[in-house]
């Protein structure tokens, strides 16, 4: 008899695994927490919850539109449902999210794994690069994209006691830690990770460790770059953005998402209504992804550390220090 196959991908340090572990832990002290799944628990981190809280794990089958409505119903009778699936499949229920959750102001949390190029070899169909844009457009929807396992842990604990609808991106691939311990997490607050006086990098999700690594190498070359990590994309921390506009000569946004509608657009909206500096957006530029390992894809699409460094030099040349 042959052995069971090994699932592809190291899951140990990924944001999805971090979510699965922390929600299981939180549920020990909060009996209202439920996790809903559409037959992808092995891939979203929800398998941890299923193992520890079998009766509070709601298997919905491969039927995301209904799953989202069911979550709204569970919230109606006082539960705290966490809907888990891949980011792409969350979009399958976008209209359900709009009316049954956002317009109906339901206490439902949408936790989406598999965002952007971070998905890797499954290719374009699974690499969701439109979710932030879609969710951001929904009135009353909070949108989060934490950058490492520690921050996912902190964000999940905050979401547990946040009463409204919220969408959080996790991630598929193992991701280096940005933090060394669980940070505080306040919805709507950005984080100044690295002060600097030339240009500012504003990033979210997996792009933050790349932006930070780029800034360290730039510092060694005598270029002082500010790095702001923006784990809440909506409501965006406009104070931190305006401060960066006042104190540095340009802003570069970095996201694993289409450049339309995501973090870069959110930053642009703030800058358009304030004393401004030039903004340069790094992301998927109106193109779709392809198969490949996440780091290879980041290089291919110009979203790796080296690309960020090059962009910084280009921008400094264009706008000055």
């Amino acid at each position: 008899m042959s052995k069971a196959p090994t699932l592809v991908g190291q899951q140990s340090d990924s944001l999805r695994e971090a979510f699965g572990k922390v929600i299981s832990e939180c549920a020990n002290s909060d009996p209202k927490v439920l996790v809903l799944d559409a037959d992808v628990a092995g891939g979203t981190g929800a398998h941890h919850f299923r193992r520890q809280h079998e009766k509070r794990f709601i298997q919905c089958g491969i039927a995301e539109q209904n799953m989202i409505g069911v979550a709204a119903g569970l919230a109606t009778v006082g539960f705290k449902p966490f809907v888990t699936t891949f980011a792409t499949f969350m979009l399958r229920g976008l209209e359900q999210i709009r009316l049954s959750i956002a317009y109906s102001q339901k206490n439902v949390k949408l936790i989406a794994s598999h965002p952007g190029l971070d998905v890797g070899p499954d290719g374009a169909s699974a690499q969701c690069i439109e979710d932030i844009a879609c969710m951001r457009a929904l009135p009353g929807m909070t949108v989060l994209s934490p950058c490492d396992a520690w921050e996912v842990q902190a964000a999940t604990k905050t979401l547990l006691n946040y009463p409204g609808p919220a969408y959080m991106r996790t991630g598929r691939s193992p991701c280096p830690n940005v933090f060394t311990q669980e940070p505080d997490f306040n919805i709507g607050k950005g984080r100044l990770l690295q002060d600097g006086n030339t240009v500012t990098l504003i990033s979210c999700g997996v792009m933050t460790h790349r932006a930070l690594a780029a800034s360290k190498e730039l510092a060694a070359q005598g270029v002082s770059v500010r790095v702001i990590h923006m784990p809440t994309i909506k409501p965006i921390d406009s104070v931190l953005i305006i401060q960066a506009a006042n104190e540095t000569s340009a802003i570069i946004s970095c996201e694993d998402h289409n450049v339309i509608g995501g973090l870069g657009s959110a930053v642009a909206e703030v800058l358009a209504e304030s004393p401004s500096v030039p903004l340069f957006r790094m992301g998927l530029n109106e193109t779709i992804g392809r198969s490949g390992e996440p780091d290879e894809l980041a290089t291919f699409y110009g979203l790796d550390k080296e690309s960020i460094k090059s962009k910084v030099f280009q921008v400094i040349e264009k706008v000055g220090k």
Binding site: A63, V70, G73, V77, E95
Partner: protein, 279 residues
């Protein structure tokens, strides 16, 4: 006429009156479900003992949200909203939105108006009640055209699988949808078989016969299955020129003459018409 039949007739008049003043709305599917909603709220669902700002301690989701003039008229008949407010339906400062809306009328549990969605929410409420070991029930009213939505069958499969016996779905089976008959648009039959194969206990009634509705809605089937009542109804029920005509699905503007004709058809006397005018 029995008491609920009288209330249902009043509900129908109120529907026409409110849609006439709104200059838009969906009369056909509101009139077809008036008997169902009247019996449900006046005889079947629990009283609102724990919260006077709700219609009942049980749950109701109007999944065919476009029939909300009927829900508002029933809410007025229960004293939850002022009857005079029905005249403000769809107006800019009115709480009575064109489709049920949580933010304007907190006594509805979810905003509806996009077909198929309310049903899943009702399914979720039933799942929640099951988890809580609560004895409360959840009812949801579906349109027949609504059954063409894929989400509906996702929810039906889930409810059958999870044995949500506290859930009762009622199909307002008036056989007409927006443009034409169900049969012409996309045939639903054999409808009872479809529900049965999804794990539901299926019952059928004349959706305008109050005794049948009461018996079926109250029936304790001692089953672990969710229950669906296929209620055979007449679209535009009670207004002779609207009955069985897809044209009156909506959204329509009623002229003054059409309003008077409809009210007369519903048995409204001149004196009563005048009373409406003075509200």
């Amino acid at each position: 006429m029995t008491t609920t039949e009288k209330i249902a007739q009043q509900v129908r008049k109120d529907i026409i009156w409110s849609i006439y003043h709104a200059k838009s709305g969906h009369p056909g599917g509101s009139l077809s479900c008036s008997d169902i909603l009247t019996v449900l709220f006046h005889r079947v669902m629990s009283p609102n003992k724990s919260n006077k700002n709700r219609l009942s301690d049980d749950y109701f989701i109007l999944s065919k949200g476009h029939a909300t003039p009927a829900l508002y008229a029933v809410a007025a008949s229960k004293g939850l909203i002022r009857r005079a407010d029905l005249k403000t339906l769809r107006a800019i400062n009115s709480p009575l939105q064109g489709h049920p809306d949580v933010q304007h009328t907190p006594w509805v549990d979810v905003s509806t108006g996009s077909l198929g969605q309310g049903f899943s929410v009702a399914v979720g409420i039933a799942k929640g009640l099951q988890l809580k070991n609560s004895l409360k029930r959840v009812f949801t009213l579906l349109g027949d055209g609504e059954l063409q939505e894929g989400q509906l069958w996702e929810g039906a499969m889930f409810a059958g699988h999870h044995k949500l016996s506290q859930l009762t779905a009622i199909v307002d089976y008036n056989k007409l949808q927006s443009d034409a008959t169900n049969k012409q648009i996309c045939n639903l039959e054999p409808l009872a078989d479809k529900w049965r194969t999804f794990g539901w206990n299926v019952l059928a009634v004349d959706g305008h016969d109050h005794q049948q509705l009461l018996t079926t809605l109250m029936a304790d089937t001692a089953s672990t299955q969710p229950k669906v009542i296929i209620a055979h109804t007449v679209k535009g029920k009670g207004v002779d020129y609207m009955e069985n005509m897809p044209l009156w699905h909506g959204s329509v503007t009623l002229s003054e003459q059409q309003y008077i004709d409809a009210m007369t058809s519903l048995g409204c006397s001149l004196a009563e018409l005048e009373e409406y005018q003075n509200v």
